[in-house]
Symmetry: none
Subunit: 206 residues, 4 copies
């Protein structure tokens, strides 16, 4: 906690930016989105409000910066089985959202995006990027013939991501493995090439 941080002359002090982001994350974690205010962040960071506004135009931008600062180490496995890959991806994502500030931050960002157009734009761009990224899992499966050729990989990713988002937004990121796997199964078998298979006899065929 940088105490007595001062100006480093006529230029931007990166320590301040860092302290602000850290404080923002801490405030978000401790008091939730409703307690997240520029004032609170400034107080916590021992920074002046103008210093925050100088670097980020407002709450939304700060929130976004906090989210992007999170090092995202979601697993993008390549087991050779799309269903397994997507399951692991969701598990990893839910785990990250559950055990790190990332979930709270992302929730806040989505909320903010509903009233702030800048945040909305940023979120849309971010989401599109993630869809393409996650879509590569599907595209890979498609390349090895696991998925039918005509399938839109990005849209499959959209379905998976939407499932994850809504679980986050409705407080269901502690969903059990079986349920997650089943959901993934519905999607994967919907795009699968293995037509003869009779997948997902959920509760086990004898």
């Amino acid at each position: 906690m940088a105490v007595g941080r001062k100006s480093i002359g006529a230029r931007r002090n990166p320590d301040s930016a860092e302290a602000i982001l850290e404080a923002a994350e801490a405030v978000l974690l401790e008091n939730g989105y409703s307690g997240f205010s520029i004032e609170a962040v400034a107080r916590r960071a021992r920074a002046g409000k103008p210093t925050i506004y100088r670097w980020w135009p407002g709450k939304a931008a700060l929130l976004l910066a906090v989210y992007q600062r999170q090092k995202r180490d979601v697993v993008y496995s390549d087991s050779g089985d799309l269903e397994e890959d997507l399951f692991r991806f969701l598990k990893s994502l839910f785990h990250q959202w559950h055990d790190t500030p990332a979930g709270e931050i992302f929730r806040s960002l989505v909320a903010e995006a509903q009233s702030d157009s800048d945040a909305a734009k940023a979120l849309a761009e971010y989401a599109a990027g993630r869809r393409v990224h996650t879509g590569q899992l599907v595209a890979r499966a498609q390349a090895r013939g696991e998925v039918r050729p005509g399938v839109d990989a990005t849209q499959v990713a959209d379905l998976v991501a939407s499932y994850a988002w809504v679980h986050l937004l409705t407080g269901r990121i502690d969903e059990n493995d079986e349920t997650i796997r089943r959901a993934v199964g519905y999607i994967v078998s919907g795009v699968s090439n293995r037509e003869t298979e009779a997948p997902d006899q959920t509760h086990g065929s004898p």
Copy 2:
């Protein structure tokens, strides 16, 4: 617009409640969620703030009431084809969200739920209810053998609803028909019983 609305005795005046909900909806539409405040609603409804607080504990509850007041005439068709039914459902939902205040209200409600636990609880309950409801479409298809026996109808509804929610929250409710139909197709064929079918050659191979 009831002018000079007064007390009707020692009990709630439905006119006031109605005027407040109407005003809330109007404020939300005109100024968006960020401009939605109890003060603004009171002003618009020509009601005292305490009158609002008497009936709704806060912003979240009012928002929820406004949403529930919306007469929801989403189409739950029964065409005998699940894919068609779900497509029509999504189309109808997107249309309602796009052309009536419902979309803006629901966006606001989801946002509110990220910081207000009452709203979160209410939203969770509401969402669960809708999943069951929409799930009946799937259950019906299951009953007529269109969907495999082991499939969890509610969870299929969850996938469909999640797709819709995220589209709303990321400003994509003007999604084109083909894309929607494709997404539905992925899910439906994933739970379908018609194993021999080669579904969804989306862009049609000649």
Copy 3:
């Protein structure tokens, strides 16, 4: 505490009036003037607000009624010595203000009179009446030749009453006897007929 008090037909129920005045006094005593509100009185008296407003036009009138309801047993002695009579009067008044709700009530009434013209009018009338009344002490002394003929008895009473009021309003009703007696002495010897007397060598010349 009259429970379940009801209407007694098409006329005022004295029990209600009584209960209201009693409640008003109690509220004033317990919470002071700042906590004295029609709502609080109604609550305490288990009376409807309109019942209060039906009989008293507002806070001021109620306050006045409460004050007048106090049985005032201020001593108007007739010792044959004006100074003694006035001293006893002040002592009695201070004692009453100190040991009964009367003081708090009167303070409140004076305060109310500064913003409410009805209370002001009522207070003025009341004060004028008291001046005349107390003036009789002086007039009696005048009749027996103790006070000079030209002296305005009412005005003397005014001086004495003013002294008392200001002591009440500035929290000095616990003034010690000697001081009170001295003040009275100044006034009385100012109107006295005994010109040869050298009165009130307070701190005693031997």
Copy 4:
């Protein structure tokens, strides 16, 4: 009327304080004590409410500040005759209370002091100071042998001030000269050293 008043850095802006006090005085004058509210003052001063609360803890403190801001130029003459001095003092005081906002402000302050202990304390201190101050008139007369040695000058001032206060509080500051002079006469001759005099043949002996 300072328009577009802004912050002048991390310290109090005297313009704001001044504007607030001025507005407070104006509100008090125009709407009386009953119309005197922090909101009204803020509105009139084009100031935010927190700016007021930052500098004054509440209504009472603001009222007191407004009163103290009044430049008090009450006449303290030294004619060599105590009766004349006190008469002129009262005349000057009544005139000030009548023709400037001072009277309304002081009335309000006394009223406030009946429900607010801070105001009560401040008023008590102020009043004590004034008694000492006015007492100097008497002490001076005492020094030149006009007043008996044992007399408590402060207490005489108390009598005079009480007379004035109560006249203010009961709307009698337009009292005629003769009456005022007579009242002063009663007090002065009560403490006078001139024992042979037959003062105050008020309505004239032929």
